[in-house]
């Protein structure tokens, strides 16, 4: 649980070190991509807790989810359909579901420790 948080902090520090930012026009798509990435990370942590973590699935999922989410949002914008909200909704719901499952796993583990 500690390592992913540390990873995000290290990444943010690295991001602060090199001062690059995205073009303003792409801010929406990057936001959706970040949401997709967060979803993948929570999914990864969950599967790690469930002992069926596969690095190939995890990494390919992270990048392809992020890229497809951004591209779909872009296409939606071109077509005048707010796919943006669909992406936010879908990833948001999954993030919360994964959080709930993770919480359950952790609680179960703590209870098992106590009962032992």
């Amino acid at each position: 649980m500690f390592w992913p948080l540390a990873g995000i902090l290290v990444g943010m520090l690295m991001g602060l070190a090199f001062p690059f930012s995205f073009p303003v026009a792409y801010a929406r798509y990057i936001a959706v991509a970040i949401l997709a990435g967060l979803d993948s990370i929570f999914g990864g942590i969950r599967s790690n807790l469930e002992h069926n973590f596969d690095p190939v699935i995890f990494i390919s999922g992270f990048f392809s989810n992020a890229i497809f989410a951004a591209v779909l949002t872009y296409i939606g914008d071109r077509l005048g359909v707010e796919i943006y909200y669909a992406a936010v909704f879908a990833f948001g719901v999954r993030i919360f579901q994964n959080l709930a499952v993770m919480r359950r796993h952790l609680v179960e583990r703590v209870q098992r420790h106590r009962s032992k």
């Binding site: 995000i8 990444g11 943010m12």
Partner: protein, 238 residues
């Protein structure tokens, strides 16, 4: 197995952290740059333009005084013509004038609008000022200023967002309206039952009326060029 998972997740988290920082920076840029910069830019442009206008206006005033001096110096102009000119300028509002009159100070209502009531009713609008000036004119006011802006034939009193525009100058409450004329006649016209003051006071608008023995009203300082209007030569017309 679990160890390996944590390593991969951590690496991806680092990547996400980098993107996250860049995105936060972009968003901060959006928030800072566009609106405030534009507003500040516009505000400074406006301020500059207003300063320039004021400078030009005072220059114009000086030039008008100079012209007056030159005109009065010219001995060839007879006293009659000069008197006519003075009269015409007084009618047009181009000279400073003095005399007895009325000082009216208006301020927005201090009463809070109750729910369901339109808060606009408790503010002074361009219409209120316009009506007041109109009433003063109707009851024989000879010269009127609104917050120091001399009301002339071409003066507009118009809503300009949260302020009121008079002679293309924005003014805001409290509004001080000065009018030269018979103080008693002017006062009674305003205080008439069902008149303008009663209506405004009904909405809680603060109205103060003072009779003044001596009022000094400034001249109209704007420019007045006739682009389309040409005088008609009477001999030609006949």
């Amino acid at each position: 197995m679990r160890r390996q998972g944590q390593i991969w997740i951590t690496i991806i988290c680092i990547v996400l952290g980098v993107i996250l920082t860049a995105q936060l920076r972009t968003q901060a840029g959006i928030r800072q740059d566009i609106p405030t910069k534009r507003i500040e830019e516009m505000a400074s442009l406006l301020k500059e333009a207003e300063l320039e206008r004021d400078a030009l206006r005072s220059q114009l005033y000086e030039l008008q005084i100079q012209t007056d001096e030159i005109t009065s110096q010219e001995k060839s102009i007879t006293a009659g013509i000069r008197k006519d000119l003075q009269q015409a300028k007084m009618i047009a509002g181009l000279t400073e004038v003095q005399g007895p009159g009325l000082l009216i100070i208006l301020n927005d209502s201090t009463r809070a609008a109750q729910s369901g009531q339109d808060p606009n009713l408790f503010l002074i609008h361009d219409e209120d000022l316009l009506k007041l000036v109109n009433e003063l004119k109707a009851s024989g006011a000879e010269a009127i200023t609104v917050n120091g802006q001399r009301v002339i034939a071409a003066t507009e009193i118009r809503c300009a967002g949260p302020t009121i525009s008079v002679n293309n100058t924005r003014i805001s409450p409290p509004y001080a309206v000065e009018a030269i004329g018979d103080p008693a006649a002017l006062e009674s016209a305003l205080k008439m039952r069902g008149g303008i003051i009663e209506t405004m006071q009904f909405w809680g608008i603060q109205v103060q009326i003072e009779k003044k023995e001596q009022l000094l009203l400034p001249a109209y300082l704007g420019s007045h060029t006739f682009k389309y209007t040409r005088p008609v030569d009477k001999r030609e017309a006949q």
